[in-house]
Symmetry: C2
Subunit: 445 residues, 2 copies
């Protein structure tokens, strides 16, 4: 009989701790990232979960007999002495003099791409994606999804500190859950059901229970277009909050969350921020502008003739982003009061001008990353609005339960995790910021 | 032009802070949970996101003219003075003398069930589930999913502190991802794809990148049986770790995570633990026993004649749970070394006895809550094992990329969030611990 006591042995010595181990013998496990043979010795660069460590192999202090069976991507345990030397700038630089190597596993074949250079050079995005399990072994590629972790972690931590409850709503939804044609259909034991396009209806219902809720989970959109900014499956970061005084409460909460996220990246993801040379936006407050004001600005200042007076095209978003940066010194700008016709059925109309809504989008450096707003909370108003939108309220009986039995003034938003990651990192294609992207042509790996 | 500065106004005064506001006038928003009319005054119980607050309405200090249009489930803002009196035990008890009430929204109809009693009495589970958006307004029902939040939060926090990276793997999987018949099929732009049964293959691949990864996300199982412990969609808490010395490293990590979770519930979810009268298990170390030892114990000590020598039936799990509690003073017991024939193709066989595997299940009070183990990491061994299992390795090319180009010794586990919640709370049916359950008969609400 064994007893499993939950004591975790730390297998990695963090790079920043090496000073503590100077002149001591340590054991480190990892992948052999790179081998550079020199005259009389070799550099063996070890890759651990978050760093590369320079190890030196030389017959005079290494008992292990190094030969050509040790290749890159071999998993090893290295035992050796931490030694310190000065780099060109006079800073301390630590490396390990290898005493012994224990081989833990060997690759079957050599890698088909070079991952141990600074970045993946001259490799097409499609190849990078086809080979995701190994292309991510490149430290710069790997850093992308550490940053993505940091973004969603910041979102979660900030909301938790502000009394939000984390929920998990079902991804298999009953017929008609959100309407629209862009849904994936599924045969569910003979019934036709849909994959969730968003947690919208569930998060609203939970406002009646927890007042403030959030969810970070996959959503599915059967959109046929194949663009650089759309995915058919992505991670949506959603929140919904009750007892608001105005839809500006939601914008305030998002501003707070973004400040928190950017600060978290600067402080706890510093290595990745430096590796990817990320220009972290400084956020103090975020300017906001009404939809119609923005349209006028585009026409007057930029002489841009809009083709659609109900929404913005990508070029308009870009111009507004430039304006926000240049004139308002902000990487972000809220656009509020979108036309009622372009917003979903649950959006609250502006009581002062029902052609427009109490809604907003957030543009980040000229790209829309959020849609949000206040929701209808009165039962009769919601039923009437559904009918006006050509929907059948009877199909939404369980959704309308929330409104029928009492719903406070409330609102919320959704934020696409991959799209925010993409734009923060300056990528042109959202697939670069998606671990295993799903689009109209890709369901592998 | 507005400026949105991210300053969050706190709308709720937490109950535990009321002493700070004694004799002061505060504003609190919430639902009217219950109205009790007395002679000359009324108690109005206000429900906020995490508590109920007793407010007193009396014409002598209330300027608002209370009448029958104010019903339960009306959303209000109450302004009033915090006053302190002694309860029967002589403890301080705070309540609010209502000065004014502002109605924020009114329900269209009165609730079809009583939610403002201590618990939902004499209401069938099916009705509770049909009415989830409102049955959860009962504080005891609501507490269930705060506890669930705490469990997954503890899992995440513990693993993050132990250098795990959080990942999001795709839920739309390509053909043959895990084999088996219990998969939901989906028409994906003319291609047949599957909903993920588990993140298994993706989390293994990410061990080659981040060494330690975890994911908390929905999984989908098209199982036809309709039992009290199965769901067709549930939240799986998965982790996978590389560079392990033995599969006991995984059991140690799980033990550590469970200790952390239980401690978190005791310290930060105290109200819910008390409300639901949860018997939080004390964990020091967790005993473990080999599969065949357990079978012998069942036969010798309990005179139980097993019908299946490759797995346990629910009654056997229960007996082992009783044994662990009585003889080993533990609510948990690991059963290790399951027969090779009953474990998935990626499980590593025990080199000392290949009929058995380096795998384990964790039983909690006689119910299996985890399966885990060490995985095959050698390419040739994995291909051979797939062929032996009747699988076509060519369909798993992208999965096997991890093995082909170097995979360290590794392993992991999966833990069903709803099932753990159910058993911790002493429920008989997993649906009670599922926010919006999906089973063969239910896809609504």
């Amino acid at each position: 009989m064994n007893k499993i006591n939950g004591q975790i042995e730390s297998t990695t010595v963090a790079f920043e701790d090496f000073a503590k181990y100077n002149e001591q013998v340590v054991t480190v496990k990892g992948y052999i990232h790179r081998i550079r043979e020199m005259t009389g010795f070799s550099f063996i660069i070890l890759r651990t979960h978050n760093q590369t460590i320079q190890c030196v192999y030389a017959p005079e202090f290494s008992s292990y007999r190094f030969d050509e069976t040790i290749t890159e991507e071999t998993c090893v345990e290295v035992k050796g002495k931490v030694v310190c030397s000065k780099d060109a700038k006079g800073n301390d630089r630590y490396e390990i003099q290898i005493h012994d190597i224990k081989v833990l596993s060997r690759p079957k074949e050599l890698l088909p791409i070079v991952v141990n250079k600074k970045q993946l050079d001259n490799i097409q995005l499609n190849t990078i994606l086809d080979l995701r399990p190994i292309s991510l072994r490149n430290p710069k590629q790997r850093a992308i999804f550490k940053i993505q972790e940091g973004i969603q972690r910041g979102f979660r931590e900030f909301l938790s500190k502000n009394n939000f409850t984390e929920i998990h709503s079902p991804k298999i939804n009953f017929a008609g859950a959100e309407g629209g044609t862009n849904v994936f259909k599924l045969d569910y034991f003979g019934k036709e059901v849909f994959l969730a396009q968003s947690p919208q209806l569930y998060k609203q219902a939970m406002v009646g229970v927890y007042e403030r809720v959030f969810e970070i989970a996959p959503v599915f959109r059967a959109e046929h277009h194949d663009t650089s900014r759309h995915l058919n499956e992505y991670i949506s970061m959603d929140f919904e909050m009750g007892f608001i005084d105005s839809f500006e409460d939601i914008m305030n909460m998002e501003t707070g969350a973004l400040k928190y996220i950017m600060n978290l990246l600067k402080t706890e993801y510093q290595n990745e921020v430096e590796l990817l040379k990320i220009d972290i936006p400084e956020i103090d407050s975020i300017p906001s502008m009404k939809f119609m004001e923005a349209k006028e600005l585009l026409m007057k200042k930029f002489k841009y003739q809009p083709t659609d007076m109900k929404d913005f095209d990508p070029q308009e978003e870009e111009l507004l982003g430039k304006y926000a940066k240049k004139e308002l010194n902000s990487d972000f700008i809220f656009i509020t009061h979108y036309p009622s016709k372009k917003r979903p059925f649950y959006t609250m109309d502006d009581p002062n001008d029902p052609e427009y809504t109490l809604s907003f989008d957030l543009l980040f450096r000229g790209l829309e990353i959020t849609s949000g707003g206040q929701r209808v909370n009165d039962y009769d108003t919601q039923v009437a609005k559904m009918v006006k939108c050509g929907m059948n309220p009877e199909l939404f009986e369980t959704y309308l339960m929330f409104h029928k039995y009492g719903a406070p003034p409330h609102g919320g938003l959704g934020l696409g995790l991959e799209r925010l990651t993409m734009h923060l990192l300056g990528f042109k294609n959202v697939r670069e910021a998606t671990l295993f992207p799903r689009d109209i042509n890709r369901v592998t790996p």
